[in-house]
Symmetry: C2
Subunit: 637 residues, 2 copies
């Protein structure tokens, strides 16, 4: 029996922590983005995305503008806006969605082709620039949008449009006579096809996804694409590995290249593995998971160690101030983690998924919902970020929008689509991966979850169901003293792969409690940049020191974990838990010598206040660091 | 009374440490470089430098090849080869020098113009591309060569050639009607003109140097140069500050831009200040010295924190693995330090000069004399250096030659010209800055110095002179228990600005002794990259840990200075002193977790062996680090 992800309408998040973020996305950001897409937002550079479709549809005259993947901005907006209807059924938004879909249909060509960049600007180059053309990428995002819109509204108008495009792609790509024996330069369509397969059960979607996944890294691919050759020549970060095309899929054992591409690839790969039972694919996924999470992932769930190529580099290369750790890449890691849970429910996958969502994903958006980080460093000094050429990717502050606007709508669709990350099911066993307040319907089963996360380790789940079923409750990796009581009493359970499995029935009240003492973590000594340092987490939240609380020269603080880390309730940001740590700082600012004898240095006691990483840079510009120098751990006695 | 630098022939180095390096330069490198310059070295890419002169002279047909500053390679070779005649009067080398100079004379144009790049390739662009054309830079190096050749051989044939070029430049540049009101894009001619001034006493050299120095940073300069505008547009590291033209000279208070340019500028500035007594220039130099040595200099005497623009960045920005710290820049720092000593004899200038020479300069050349570093990092991990885009400048190993070959001949001329750094004189007071074995003649005064440096703090100086004079002996900043005995007895002395001044007479035997205990240094807490770290020096030598002695994962070692640093005589490299330190490493390599609880980490005792930094990478490729994590210093009791 396979484990299934739930449909987007089955889970509605109602959570103290996430709820206000989802509300803000719906109230402010989705309308704002619609104005941006329509070039009606005076504060933002014109997107031209809608206008490109109007030109392609013959409703307007002019040039294509924006990136070759500009269509995907509209697609992600449709996906995020569709999900938002679950929370707020806004008739005006429904009208906007309908109008957008009608426009997309009018832009579609008679043979099913749909990509405004090629329709308007390069009609003679269709399917010829696979490495960078992003036709299949845009098709993937629009297919995700179609699935989302269909799932939420029941209306399959966009699915019908996309079905015609998929049929065209199936005809064009393959190993048959006259077909293109290649795969996308930017993965995305694979996971979208698998969503369409899960929605419709139609095997053509699965088969095309499987073809793209298994064909990857083989010849001829896009290796003859002039743009691929040109970029590769100019910049060694853009070699075949940038596209995860350095080896055939089943031979890959390290996560290479552009981190977002890699995550979308692995997500589609896991979807195909689950649907086809391909054991070799599962083994490949296991190797890739080990490589990413044991050798190439920041403690925040960030991935992509280098701005040039926005890519993975080599094992244990995790610099904190010149990383890329793109918001979209962390979203991709959460997507992949969810698929790994569907393949094989193990709490370690959920630990990573949760880490990414609460840290590197959420840091991508400001508390006001209107400013965004593309890059999420683990250390920032504003003056260095502004000056140094190798900090070119670093923005000292979140910005309103980006010329390449992949991240903001990606965060929004993740927020409004958050429900899909909470549960999976395996027959009549429901896995609860995240303790996020929510209302869930799975057939006859209904779950109402209240949660105090991420501030306290407690959740209360009310069960309704016609028949008893199994509830598999994740024991988070950070949990101490995990206890479950049903209707006020201890309940029998089985522990399996990090889940506590118990039988529940209609009317049961399940209480989950665990402690989340602050954790002081150190990195594997192979991580050069973290040697001699430690970071502090509590529950799923990574904490950081900010200049706003601690003054400048954060690097001078040396943490002493011995006295313990104190948890303090604060009124900041509507009520969060701060962490307070003790340590030392250099005494005597008057010593201006650049280098001074160790024996002459005096240190004084100092405290440091830490805030959740995702909240950094919400109180103005300043220094920030996740990793702090630390008193030497565990000396032999 | 002013302090004077000595002429190159007055000091002949005869030193256990430097002698073999000078011999190697003379025996191997100068002949090798001559073959390279003549395109007769099968192992090296053709230089084309001589051929460019032959084409300019009408003796050969063809295109100009190489960089626009290719002429300077020949100039630096002439300078270094001329100095070598002091050590070994080689008739064949004299013939080669004569032939080169004759060729240069034939390439010179009737009006005195001399620059093969413009003569052959761009005759209509003379003096129009000042930001990047390097005509004045090449003229400067050739003038330095002419001075060197004249000083050593007494032959002024090259001086006569250069004098005609200087007269042409004097006519072209200035604030008069029809003159070019600008200054060189790459400083160099200023310090060369001042060498010519000191040699000849002719004020025209000094006046032109003063014009270029004081005019710098003013309008119109080269700000209309299309190449300047183009580069500035493309790369923010190439703005006006790259050329030290961001402000008029006398307003500058930080060292900006291309580090080699800055050093050559400051060197010429100090020469002009000394010759003209310009107090404003002296104040400017004081500010710049403070900025460089207190905020922007590596502990190795390296400068230039960023590869992009090969430049200074901002205060306290001193990353160890992405620095530039070019060999030529450290040579420039030594040159500037010597001029600061001539302006005002203070031991702190000599401390920096010595630090640069023994570390970042000497690391530029391999022990076999035939391999060179352009960039001298303070930390290197070969796999990271190879992969990461922001480590593009890093070579994991010294190489035989560079397409842009400024460093190798610069090291050679520094080695064969080392004598000029040892002493300055102020009337009948002789300042001894460096304890390097040597024979020196200053008028009636003769000094023979034997030294055990850098391994032991002792020197023996035999004095001959018609009349008594003052010997001012530098007390190095690192010296403990500095003692001077004359003819076996304590002698009366005056201590002034770090010099011990005593009266000596004919026949005196002066014995200098001081201890050089290893020093564990930490950096100013504003240096983010060095926080929590320490480095170890002994005397002028910075030490480093290498993989060859300590295995990989150098970053995992944490130094504990409490048990002390042991000095150990070794047979390595013909007999050097190693340093042995104690500390800890992570216990249990079996723990493959990327992040682990602080409380679960165990450390074991470990030793580390350190070698002088300048010797790194002479035993094959491997990790290296100068800075090591360190036990917390000076906690309050």
């Amino acid at each position: 029996m396979t484990t299934e992800m739930l449909g987007i309408r089955q889970v509605k998040v109602k959570d103290g922590f996430w709820g206000k973020r989802i509300d803000r996305a719906i109230e402010r950001v989705i309308p704002y983005q619609w104005r941006v897409l329509n070039d009606r937002e005076p504060d933002a550079a014109p997107s031209h995305a809608i206008e490109n479709f109007r030109i392609a549809a013959g409703l307007s005259e002019g040039e294509f503008k924006g990136y070759q993947f500009q269509d995907s901005d509209l697609a992600k907006w449709i996906e995020g806006a569709s999900y938002s209807l679950i929370y707020k059924d806004d008739p005006l938004l429904r009208e906007d969605l309908k109008a957008a879909i009608e426009l997309i249909g009018r832009a579609q060509q008679p043979d099913g082709y749909l990509d405004t960049h090629y329709i308007v600007k390069k009609p003679d180059k269709k399917w010829q620039e696979l490495a960078h053309g992003h036709e299949l990428y845009c098709a993937g995002h629009m297919l995700e949008a179609a699935v989302a819109y269909r799932q939420v509204t029941g209306d399959d108008s966009l699915m019908r449009i996309m079905d015609r495009l998929v049929d065209l792609i199936r005809a064009k790509f393959g190993k048959g006579e006259g077909q293109i024996d290649a795969y996308p330069g930017h993965e995305e369509i694979e996971l979208a096809l698998m969503k369409a397969y899960r929605l419709t059960g139609r095997e053509k979607y699965r088969d095309l996804a499987e073809f793209f996944i298994l064909n990857r890294g083989t010849e001829p691919g896009f290796f003859g694409d002039p743009r691929y050759l040109e970029l590769k020549e100019k910049d060694k970060a853009l070699d075949a590995s940038y596209y995860q095309a350095h080896k055939p899929t089943l031979e890959q054992d390290t996560a290479e290249g552009h981190a977002v591409r890699a995550m979308y690839f692995f997500t589609g790969m896991a979807d195909v593995a689950a649907a086809t039972g391909n054991e070799e694919l599962k083994k490949t996924l296991g190797r890739l998971w080990e490589n990413v999470t044991k050798k190439r992932m920041y403690v925040t769930g960030g991935i992509g160690s280098q701005g040039d190529g926005e890519r993975f580099t080599i094992d244990y290369d995790l610099p904190n101030d010149t990383c890329y750790t793109e918001t979209c890449a962390a979203i991709g890691l959460a997507m992949w983690s969810l698929r790994m849970l569907a393949l094989d429910p193990r709490a370690e996958y959920a630990d990573i998924m949760e880490r990414a969502l609460y840290n590197n994903v959420l840091s991508g958006i400001s508390e006001d919902g209107e400013h965004y980080f593309y890059v999420n460093p683990l250390m920032l000094k504003p003056d260095v970020a502004r000056f140094r050429a190798d900090h070119e990717s670093m923005e000292p502050n979140r910005v309103k929008w980006f010329p390449c606007a992949c991240c903001p709508p990606n965060v929004i669709r993740t927020l409004t689509g958050l429900g899909q990350y909470l549960y999976t099911r395996k027959g009549r066993r429901i896995y609860q991966h995240l303790y996020i307040g929510s209302e869930t319907e799975i057939g006859d089963i209904s779950l109402v979850c209240d949660s105090a996360m991420p501030w306290e380790g407690s959740a209360h789940i009310r069960v309704s169901s016609a028949e008893p079923f199994e509830l598999a409750l994740r024991v988070p990796g950070y949990a101490c003293g995990f206890s479950v009581r049903v209707n006020g009493s201890d309940a029998a359970f089985v522990q399996e792969n990090g889940y506590r499995i118990l039988s529940v029935k209609n009317g049961d009240q399940v209480e989950v409690h665990f402690d989340m003492p602050p954790q002081v973590l150190v990195a594997n000594p192979r991580v050069t940049e973290d040697c001699g340092k430690a970071c502090v987490l509590r529950g799923p939240l990574v904490y950081c020191a900010e200049e706003a609380d601690n003054g400048p020269l954060l690097q001078d603080f040396r943490l002493n974990p011995a006295p313990g880390v104190k948890v303090r309730q604060s009124d900041l940001f509507g009520g969060i838990r701060l962490l307070c740590v003790q340590g030392t700082r250099t005494d005597g600012d008057g010593d201006t010598r650049l280098y001074r004898p160790y024996g002459e240095v005096r240190r004084r006691s100092a405290d440091s206040v830490l805030i959740p990483y995702f909240l950094w840079n919400n109180r103005g510009e300043g220094e920030m660091t996740v990793w702090m120098n630390v008193t030497e751990p565990g000396l032999p006695e």
